[in-house]
């Protein structure tokens, strides 16, 4: 029983020392900082660090020069059980890059379903308890706010490094920041997309949207995009459907839009599944050529749809960046260069569209999935 007390106290002590390292945040302030309970990447990344890591990730891997007496132990806690192959790809990209870098590793996966917050919490506790086993813990929160305390707890542990996947907004009130956040910024993607759409389609257009589930992700993918095109291009939004990121939802929403809001010539979809449902609904009534529809993420399915001429544009993530960057971070850490890492890493995003040639699209896809492989996943 005493041992427990001591552990409790020591965790408390550790967390207070851990906090010191992050005292310097934010590095600089961006508009709206007071209204946010999180920092945006620009506020916490020292100049040049993000770009430097992006460059390393985009280039050929430089092999690890140091020596390992045993493989690094990596625990992955993420909600991969029922989502698209996003997590599987990250995993593959990381492991392939580690192999490319010549780093020996072992992985243990703790997977759950997206809505099983409680189970993920259980996993986090158990990994924490087995902290002596692991060198790196990669945590993909089921939902940022809900898992905030677990991020805090894991980050407070000294015996391993903590990397967070799929989020890029460091929460202000974490006592302990993880070592790096790895993600794509939907907000950045929304701006890239906004610029492209305004340039391509001009001003004053009417759009309808298949949004996801209200929340931070949808606010960025759909909300930021909507705000941008309405403000910069004077666009109108006829209707917003919440398709819950489900294919069915996209189909339903699009069927609805096609008949109830025929004035909308553009349909925005907040993820691949909804985009596929949307395209299918359009094809079923032969309207896929009239409607300019967009997806999100530039996954293989979306690119196929673009090749078929059904989908028209999509902000495309260089999908394997997150996994590869994680491998690079591990390498940097092993080489005692972790000081060079940004606090938030963002993967690269460009727009893939129907005016690109087949080769251009192929090259883009090749680059995006250079580790996990274009097409169906083999694991």
């Amino acid at each position: 029983m005493n041992k427990l007390l001591i552990t409790t106290l020591s965790i408390l002590a550790l967390s207070s020392t851990g906090a010191l390292a992050e005292d310097k945040l934010p590095l600089k302030e961006l508009p709206g900082i007071a209204d946010r309970d999180y920092w945006v990447p620009g506020e916490v990344n020292a100049d040049g660090k993000l770009e430097a890591l992006q460059a390393v990730v985009g280039a050929e891997g430089v092999p690890f020069t140091g020596s390992q007496d045993k493989p690094v132990e990596i625990a992955l806690i993420y909600p991969s059980a029922d989502t698209s192959d996003f997590w599987a790809r990250n995993f593959l990209a990381m492991t392939k890059r580690l192999e490319e870098l010549g780093i020996k590793y072992n992985t243990t996966e703790f997977a759950s379903r997206q809505i099983e917050h409680s189970l993920q919490s259980t996993y986090a506790n158990q990994v924490l308890q087995d902290g002596d086993i692991y060198d790196y813990v990669i945590f993909g929160p089921s939902e940022l706010a809900i898992q905030a305390d677990n991020i805090d707890k894991l980050s407070g542990e000294d015996s391993f490094k903590t990397y967070v996947w799929a989020f890029h907004t460091p929460l202000k009130d974490l006592k302990n920041q993880p070592d790096v956040w790895f993600d794509f910024s939907s907000a950045a993607g929304a701006l890239v997309m906004c610029d492209y759409m305004l340039e391509r389609l001009g001003n004053g257009v009417t759009m309808a949207m298949n949004r996801g589930i209200p929340g931070i992700t949808d606010n960025q993918r759909s909300g930021d995009f909507k705000d941008c095109v309405m403000e910069k291009g004077d666009w109108k939004v006829a209707y917003e459907h919440y398709g819950e990121y489900q294919r069915e939802g996209g189909f339903e929403g699009t069927s609805l839009i096609l008949q109830a809001y025929p004035e909308a010539t553009i349909i925005h979809n907040a993820n691949t599944a909804m985009a596929m449902g949307s395209v299918e609904a359009q094809v079923s009534v032969g309207k896929e050529k009239e409607i300019f529809s967009t997806g999100w993420g530039g996954t293989g399915l979306e690119l196929d749809a673009i090749r078929r001429g059904e989908l028209d544009a999509t902000p495309m993530r260089m999908g394997d960046d997150v996994g590869a960057a994680t491998a690079e971070a591990i390498k940097a850490d092993l080489e005692d260069r972790s000081g060079e890492l940004p606090l938030v890493f963002l993967g690269r995003i460009t727009v893939a569209h129907d005016q690109m040639g087949a080769e251009e699209l192929d090259a883009l896809q090749q680059e995006a999935f250079r580790f996990s492989g274009v097409g169906a996943l083999e694991r």
Binding site: S118, S121, I146, P214
Partner: protein, 376 residues
């Protein structure tokens, strides 16, 4: 004639003496199996104080609900709405605290009362509308979940006063976590309710023989409603504990509470056909499920085995109990003997036929198979 506690005649049979404990044999055997297995496979990590703490912490969340569900199921009822009740009440509590500045104890109390109210509605729907429990609570599950979504949308409410996180994950130094204390207290309360109060006695009577209960003048509907009210309050308490544990809550939280809790209770020997209640069994059931998940995680086994294991454990412990009972009733007939009846032989032949047909189809399929077209 004086009363004596000495009984003449034959001594009490062994099977009669273990009868009250028969219900928890199932989960106990399974727990023992896990302990033995882990004792060989990973003793150092599994058997340590911090891990016991984790197991208990995980189980604590389900204890209040398993307690109340024991009553509901014993009365031949079922409640599928508990996850939504937990989500709805804790969302409301969170709003009261975060948006309206209510003090946490007040908000928590309100949540519990709201939970009881949800339970009351369930009970009224079932007893007054004469809706079967399964359908009634399924409908209410959808309604409560819908309301929670209406209120909170996709919002996550996080960062609550300390009292709440204490309830959810606080640790009494040198002792077990606060939620475990709460959970065990509710279990003890349940045991007391079951054995010492009208409510408990009538719960068993109603489940055992509803007509008899009615005839002896028991207000069957009222006691059914009591069980659902208790269930609602317990679900709300679990919601509060979950909110505290995660220090955050969302309308979609607590998705699989109902199935997990029902499984724990049934594994613990409480019968879905009513009348047979075992509070100790429910506690054992909750612990068993938590220990199993913990063991699989400790062994670093791939996650889908959790699903398989819980499915297998649920079915096999219920099957074990049914078999024990049947054996008791029909005399000890071996499993093999049971398989050789003409009826079973027919079934065996049918399953053999199905498997053979499937094998044949797969064979034909592989003969006809072209190259796999795996690329997209």
């Amino acid at each position: 004639m004086t009363t004596t506690t000495h009984h003449p005649g034959n001594p009490v049979k062994f099977s009669e003496r273990i009868e009250p404990f028969l219900a928890i044999i199932g989960p106990m055997v399974m727990i023992l199996a896990i302990l033995l297995f882990m004792g060989v496979a990973e003793p150092a990590r599994y058997f340590r104080l911090s891990n016991l703490n984790l197991i208990l912490l995980d189980a604590a969340l389900y204890m209040p609900m398993a307690m109340a569900m024991t009553f509901v199921i014993t009365q031949r009822g079922i409640d599928l709405s508990i996850g939504s009740v937990a989500a709805l009440t804790s969302i409301l509590m969170a709003f009261l605290i975060k948006q309206f500045g209510f003090s946490a104890p007040v908000a928590i109390t309100i949540a519990l009362v709201l939970g009881a109210l949800c339970g009351l509605i369930n009970g009224l729907v079932i007893t007054k509308f004469k809706v079967p429990d399964l359908i009634g609570t399924l409908a209410m599950d959808l309604v409560y979940r819908g309301l929670a979504l209406v209120i909170a949308k996709g919002l996550v409410l996080a960062r609550f006063p300390e009292i709440l996180t204490d309830i959810g994950r606080g640790q009494i130094p040198g002792f077990i976590p606060v939620p475990v204390v709460i959970g065990l207290l509710t279990m003890a309360l349940g045991y007391w309710l079951l054995k010492r109060t009208f409510f408990g006695r009538y719960t068993v009577a109603i489940g055992s023989n509803p007509e008899a209960a009615e005839m002896t003048g028991i207000a069957v509907d009222r006691y059914k409603i009591y069980a659902y009210v208790l269930m609602g309050a317990a679900a709300a308490l679990a919601g509060v504990m979950l909110t505290g544990k995660l220090n955050a809550i969302q309308a979609t939280s607590a998705p699989y509470f109902n199935l997990h809790v029902i499984a724990a209770v049934v594994v613990g020997g409480t019968s879905l056909f009513g009348g047979r209640a075992s509070m100790l069994g429910s506690l054992a059931g909750v612990l068993l499920l938590s220990m199993m998940i913990n063991a699989l995680v400790t062994l670093r086994i791939e996650f889908f085995w959790q699903s398989v294991a819980s499915g297998v454990v649920i079915v096999s412990s219920v099957a074990l109990y049914t078999w024990l009972q049947k054996k008791d009733r029909d005399g000890a007939k071996g499993l093999i003997a049971g398989l050789t009846t003409p009826e079973s032989l027919k079934l065996l032949r049918l399953s053999g036929g199905l498997i053979a047909a499937l094998a044949l189809l797969l064979l034909i399929g592989s003969l006809l198979a072209g190259n796999p077209v795996a690329s997209g």
